[in-house]
Symmetry: C2
């Protein structure tokens, strides 16, 4: 006898599936509604019932999301995961696209970060009203960011 044999065979409620997968119950329902996962089986009481495979899938989704893949990407990855005939080329392509997108975002954010840090550095930040940050936000050249965000700088 199993020391903790509750249900016939790894049949979990949505809450249990949530704790085992890391995906909140509410989010699991959302994924179902959004078509990311198939509608769960229902028990006699109408409750959703999840098996080990379902939990596995949820963890897959959880990790993919944690890596920043969009739900659209996740759906695609999931498809490729289930459908092993699909070539790994597809997966790699998706991953590399994501890396490229991340590189772009990181570069942009770094740029912005340095711009703001540069402005903040020039603001003495005391009780006096003068603040170069506001000055520059209010009077930057029309081109917006174009001239100011190179390196740490923001030379006006």
């Amino acid at each position: 006898m199993n020391p903790k044999a509750e249900k016939p065979q790894g049949l979990l409620s949505i809450g249990e599936a949530a704790t085992h997968s890391g995906v909140p119950a509410k989010t699991i329902r959302f994924y179902e509604e959004a078509g990311i996962i198939k509608p769960a089986q229902r028990g006699d009481n109408g409750y959703r019932v999840y098996g080990d495979g379902d939990v596995q899938t949820l963890r897959f989704i959880h990790r993919s999301r944690a890596l920043g893949f969009s739900l659209k990407d996740v759906a695609e990855l999931l498809e490729l995961y289930r459908n092993r005939e699909r070539a790994s080329r597809e997966v790699k392509k998706l991953a590399l696209q994501h890396v490229a997108a991340l590189d772009r975002k990181i570069a942009e954010m770094t740029n912005v970060r340095n711009t703001i840090a540069g402005l903040a550095e020039k603001c003495h930040g005391n009780h006096r009203p003068e603040c170069p940050i506001l000055e520059e936000l209010g009077a930057m050249p029309k081109s917006g960011l174009a001239g100011m965000n190179k390196g740490t700088g923001a030379r006006a």
Copy 2:
């Protein structure tokens, strides 16, 4: 001999304000509705009318947004901008908070980027079905990302 002296004194329609400020007309209305800017004056025909100061404000908002400040932040910056008695300390604080937030996000994204790039490198990406990316997404230890990167995971 202004080549384009149409209106009495820099009185612009919403479309003109849009082109001069870089903020789309639709977004200007949205800002008004959201309380970021005060309701514009109206002409006899009910059209919104903008003056130079309004356009200035819109550009301020545009640049602040381009630097990644949230609308809530922008409202605050705008308040400080108009209300010069406010100390520059406030502004600097807001800017440095934003820099810190950017630093966190950049670090997290870099982490994720390296994780994915590492996985992609191990995937030969040919026509064969085996793909370590899928393998690892599907079978990582329960703790999720814990073993592979340092970030808390990119929960938005």
